[in-house]
Amino acid sequence: MKAASHTARILISAVLTLLGLLLATFLIARVVPIDPALAILGDRASASSYEQTRKELGLDRPLYVQFGRYVASVARGDFGRSALTKNPVAQDIGRFFPATIELATGATLIGALLGVPAGLYAAARRGKVTDHVMRALGLFGYSVPVFWLGMMALVLFYADLGWVAGPGRIDTALEDFVPHVTGFIMIDAALSGDGEAFRSALSHLVLPALVLGYFSFAYISRMTRSFMLQELGQEYIVAARAKGLGERRVLWVHAFRNVRLPLITVIALAYAGLLEGSVLTETVFSWPGIGQYITNSLLSIDMNAVLGGTLVIGVMFIAVNLIADLLYRVLDPRAR
């Protein structure tokens, strides 16, 4: 019963946060110093047609009514039309979304697969050289701008060394041969059995995913280290060591088991953070995802597109956090 009410609380708080996000985008749309009615009519319209248009757009209604209508239209998946691409924003986002997910997922995988062992190792060798090197790597990750690191990586690994493919998702020559099934280009290439396209897509993904993954590596390894240090100070670890268990077993089996749960939250947060971080990374790598869609729309003040993209990333952000919270509840035996 108690568990159920706790789950309900988590859900309610996610819904409130979602409303907060909608309110934020709604208010941002309202502060644009462009009068939507004037934008349609031009500034030589008569006063009566101006009033008429304002009425049609619902601008004469109280703000809370306008907000209600806004929420309703977003819930229907209607984000308006993009001034730049002339398509409905929802349709644009559907096209760009898979690329962002592909990049963020690849990056989180890299960050988690490297970050967790690194944090574990650093905790086990606390105060030694390895620990300091890991910490320095982590601190650097917290300090360097992601778009800059991306550019430098492109110069070095693509232009100079030629180890990876350059900007974009796949070689342009191959682009039209990959059938559009899921929108995830690697999956589509694999499904069609096109080995060359798959390799090209992979080679394009590696560098941006590594650059972005480095940031989640910094975060994940740092958190793993501090969780592990907390566990290693517990009495059951002393008992396990006193029993004569090998250090590897103490670390991986005893301590790590208790660290897994909080790590789920950390990795989820890292993933949510990367969805956001992808905005700047995609620009550098010409990665055709939501981030690039937003940044392209920014300068032409295509607010429908900007706010639609913001909403989608914000919703993903909230959803990932919610899933992590719920997963934690399911996996933690104390919560059942």
């Binding site: 708080s13 409130l16 946060t17 907060g20 996000l21 934020a24 985008t25 941002i28 749309a29 502060v31 644009v32 110093p33 601190l139 650097f140 917290y142 300090s143 360097v144 701008p145 992601v146 778009f147 800059w148 690191l149 550019m151 430098m152 492109l154 110069v155 232009a159 949510a272 969805l275 956001e276 971080g277 905005v279 700047l280 620009t283 550098v284 937003i294 940044t295 729309s297 920014l298 300068l299 003040i301 607010m303 900007v306 706010l307 993209g309 913001t310 990333i313 914000g314 952000f317 909230i318 956090n321």
Partner: protein
């Protein structure tokens, strides 16, 4: 918070030294910069580092070192403005919530949590896009998304103070709620907020650089580091230094703030170690 007697961590000292040095460099920019930040010299454009231009020249032949030195003014100015706006707001929200409790606390902290759960960078982007590009709007946007952590910290501190005897004494002496928050609680929450701030400054620098990079922050020809990286992008394959140098400046300054914040936190709070 008791004044600790332990030695101040050396890395934090290094961080503090870099921050102070950058502030001095920014302050004395006209004296230190070898060239004027806007002086174009088209005969010597895109020259590699070395010789007359230690860090090379950009696409208009402007001296990159001089532009970095003047750029410190822009970046530190943004950092200072954001702190001046956000810290008092966060402090006030947190202290009022912590001291008064009840529904005031519930509402204020709910709002804080909502702000904390939203993606910062992307909301800041949307704000600036709506308000129009420029430093003032960038500062405003960063401030709007940056105050919640301070409110959290200040609330946690003021919760422990709420039932302290000296607060009861002040209340019995007839002090109003407003006076107690402003004069007795807020000053005591300040140290934790300052620690949190130095940890946050690196993030502010990175967001500001990101906005500059996307063309939403300082406008050309202002020597802002993020914007400098953006122009360097066109030339990066053959003239890497144009984009590389400002990035190094950003990394060094935000690393310094990170070292300082980490050290301060460890120093003041032994539990974190």
């Amino acid at each position: 918070m008791v004044a600790p007697s332990r030695r101040f961590p050396p890395l934090a000292t290094l961080g503090a030294a870099i921050v102070v040095a950058s502030a001095l460099i920014a302050f004395a920019a006209p004296l230190l910069a070898p060239y004027a930040p806007y002086a174009q010299d088209l005969a010597h454009r895109l020259e590699p580092p070395g010789g007359a231009h230690w860090l090379g020249t950009d696409e208009l032949g402007r001296d990159i070192l001089s532009r970095l030195i003047y750029g410190a003014r822009v970046t530190l100015g943004i950092v200072a403005l954001v702190s001046v706006v956000t810290a008092p707001v966060g402090l006030l929200v947190g202290c009022v919530a912590g001291y008064f409790g009840g529904w005031v606390e519930a509402v204020l902290m709910r709002v804080t949590d909502i702000f904390l759960a939203l993606p910062r960078l992307i909301l800041a982007l949307a704000f600036v896009a709506a308000l129009g590009p420029g430093i003032e709007n960038a500062v405003l946007a960063i401030a709007i998304v940056s105050w919640p952590p301070y409110a959290r910290v200040a609330r946690a501190e003021s919760l422990t103070l709420r039932h302290a005897e000296f607060i009861d004494a002040a209340r019995l002496a007839g002090a109003s709620g407003g006076r107690i928050v402003l004069r007795h609680i807020m000053p005591l929450c300040l140290p934790s907020v300052i620690v949190r701030m130095s940890l946050d400054m690196a993030g502010v620098i990175l967001i500001a650089a990101g906005l500059g990079f996307l063309g939403l922050g300082a406008q050309p020809p202002t020597p802002e580091w993020g914007a400098m990286i953006a122009t360097g992008r066109q030339y990066m394959l053959d003239h890497w230094w144009v984009a590389a140098m400002p990035g190094i400046a950003i990394a060094v300054l935000s690393l310094a703030f990170n070292l300082l914040g980490d050290g301060l936190r460890d120093w003041l709070d032994p539990k974190q170690r």
